[in-house]
Symmetry: C3
Amino acid sequence: MIDPRFYTLLGPVPVSALADWATVRGDASRVVLGVAALDGAGESDLAYFDASKGDVPSTAAGVLIVREKAAPSARSGAVLILAREPRAHFARVAARLAVDRPFQTDGALIAADARVEAGAIIGPGVVIGPGAEVGAESVIGPNAVIGPGVTIGRRTRIGPGASIVCAYVGDGVTILAGARIGQTGFGVAGDAAGLVDVPHFGRAIIQDGASIGACTTVDRGLFGDTIVAEGAKIDNLCQIAHNVVIGRGAVIAAFGGISGSTQVGDGVMMGGRVGIADHRAIGRGAQLAAGSAVMHDVPAGETWAGYPAKPVRQWLRETAWLSRAIGKRDNG
Amino acid sequence: MIDPRFYTLLGPVPVSALADWATVRGDASRVVLGVAALDGAGESDLAYFDASKGDVPSTAAGVLIVREKAAPSARSGAVLILAREPRAHFARVAARLAVDRPFQTDGALIAADARVEAGAIIGPGVVIGPGAEVGAESVIGPNAVIGPGVTIGRRTRIGPGASIVCAYVGDGVTILAGARIGQTGFGVAGDAAGLVDVPHFGRAIIQDGASIGACTTVDRGLFGDTIVAEGAKIDNLCQIAHNVVIGRGAVIAAFGGISGSTQVGDGVMMGGRVGIADHRAIGRGAQLAAGSAVMHDVPAGETWAGYPAKPVRQWLRETAWLSRAIGKRDNG
Amino acid sequence: MIDPRFYTLLGPVPVSALADWATVRGDASRVVLGVAALDGAGESDLAYFDASKGDVPSTAAGVLIVREKAAPSARSGAVLILAREPRAHFARVAARLAVDRPFQTDGALIAADARVEAGAIIGPGVVIGPGAEVGAESVIGPNAVIGPGVTIGRRTRIGPGASIVCAYVGDGVTILAGARIGQTGFGVAGDAAGLVDVPHFGRAIIQDGASIGACTTVDRGLFGDTIVAEGAKIDNLCQIAHNVVIGRGAVIAAFGGISGSTQVGDGVMMGGRVGIADHRAIGRGAQLAAGSAVMHDVPAGETWAGYPAKPVRQWLRETAWLSRAIGKRDNG
């Protein structure tokens, strides 16, 4: 179930109102209340299965968008919407079921029901949405934006002009100027009608003692959470994509880019401008040299470098060998 | 002619007031009303020709800043300002002719003549400049800034703290938190007095259904337009320079950097951290692997990778060969 | 001494209140007033020496955090706090001595004692902190934030939503939308209790005629200054780390990343996405090709390229040779 602190459910909506031109297999008058990933869905949820091969995984979703080919493998109790491009279909209809919880529209900068603990300092021009909370001794910089339902812990500092939505932020966190936390992630689905953004219904979790640099972006999860764990330190101008987990005490220097669903282990150290492909795992304590482009999993404790990244010894050997080989040819 | 929605013309100004220490050839009392590129200039416009070789291209510009060597090739009816560094000269005097249309100074967040259609939602702290328009069902996030004369279409969503100036934004567009649209581009001219920013008088056009990520920057054109075409999808922390065209349905992952005047074709797909040099053309449907640094034109439909980028097969061959060559030497 | 325009001193504080669980050698009731680097510290300052080898450099610091091993080399008049990790110890206690000068809390956007010269234009929603100054003919864009004590010169333009703290900004400077100037730098210290951010007490100096791009970040110095010198031109989405010096008329294209304490000489030209390691020196007039990852000092006037960067001729030779070598093997 999506977190009602951050999303407003618009339903109930009958399946027929979610089918558009697709065929419905089952009771089209069945009502849907929410959206969910396959593995978290319940009887009243809409979910989708996009793979072009294989069976629908086990899911309790009451309504399922699937390709016709996968339909036979779906649970018999589920109502099916048969779509050529299930992810794109989901992207086009999900906003009929749930949308971002809105900011106040009464002109107030701080929503009437936002809760600011005594001792917190709210800068000039700060906007705080409905149901948000700011803990004692926290300082919110001028013109920052704290979204509806967001919680900010104690002794946390938010820089000028930063924005934080769909997020839980812990104690003793530092978020610098212009950082962007919890916006929708980058997910593009395509069908005959063109490209469509896949809406995101997850959250961003910034745990105690973590730090986020200026103009760094931490997208929220698609359904689940994007997590920056305790004491992780992220420099300016980094991109942390949807559903990424940054481990405890991991350090990421400027321009680090972590693609969707990648897991960065505890204590991993990354030099500047390291990129990691999606769905990768970087083992605990691994070190990635500045400028590495990591396309594979990296075992715990190893040091990698290069484009594409490889164990640093191999990279150094290749780099040095190439220089020597050319040198010989030129002088020999 | 530059777009009066975004720029205020200050003239008429006589050529003598634009010459500074340069020689004027022709009637120095002739008045100038505007600025333009050579190919769009008219009788009342100031334009410049900076090349150190070759003839002045055909232009109807009434007043022209040129090097002395190029003067003989200029249209006989034009008044000439003979400068050692025409681009720098232009950069130093253009602000006497035209400047950015200013925001209101009466203390109001929303200008009296801004037009917000019924059903649009304007967040707390939002600033909207004179003559700007926001269409129905659009949502402007808290503390965002919509510049003078900007038009925002319908069903478009602007994130918290984003700023949009000198721009037309279509329907169904998504612009995430902290994105920066339409600021002046990066153009540096130099003369004996040092470096000077070349002022930009163009626009940024974000067409229907396009999406722009958090902290992504889309600079306006020098005179013409920077265009993000229909349904193009751009991730966080990308840089789209002046006069770039991003084609329909093109997809650009995080940290993409497109240098000035480059044309990215329809349906081009770019992995993370792809850079493209200026004045290049990436053909329709081409794919650029994550981390590519593209210094050449890429034909339609091809896949390139590497630094410098080359066709992906060649890049893979070189990468693999190098690893094997070293491996042999070490073990042989 | 740290600059009182930007920092509030909280002391006097006795050494005993700064020791936590560490041993104090000397008079624990001695009071401390400020924090400083070793070479700038005076009798009333707290400083730290973190090296695990070597003697404490000559310093007038009255109170010194050192490892026990280095204690014998410290000046006999100094009170010593013996810590396993002096930098981490400093990071944990420094905020008891000095903190960022706060913004006004009376709800005003512009502090009562901020000074705005006649002819300056302050956009809607702009926040200006106590003691800040804005010079004549400068324009501060909507929703920008000017921190306590900051001075902005004349004819300077600050874009929408930018933030500037702990900084001196000269005349004729351009800072584009969303740029972030003067926030704390990225410094991480670790001890048994985990990672902690090293607080920064320095400044950012943006000299006359410099330009800073959209979403570019310029961190303040640790104790000293980060400097962008006269007429330097920095594009969008660049990162200038703590204590960096960017020379006069240097040009840095988009995604440039300059690591801590590196010196970029006058007139250096950098293509897009150049990275430079920390504590490097790039000589006057050097050129760094787009995408270079510079790990060494670069002599004045040289052109370097590559990852890792090397003189451009060598890089071109290696790149071309590799392509030819593979080509031969495939065809031979």
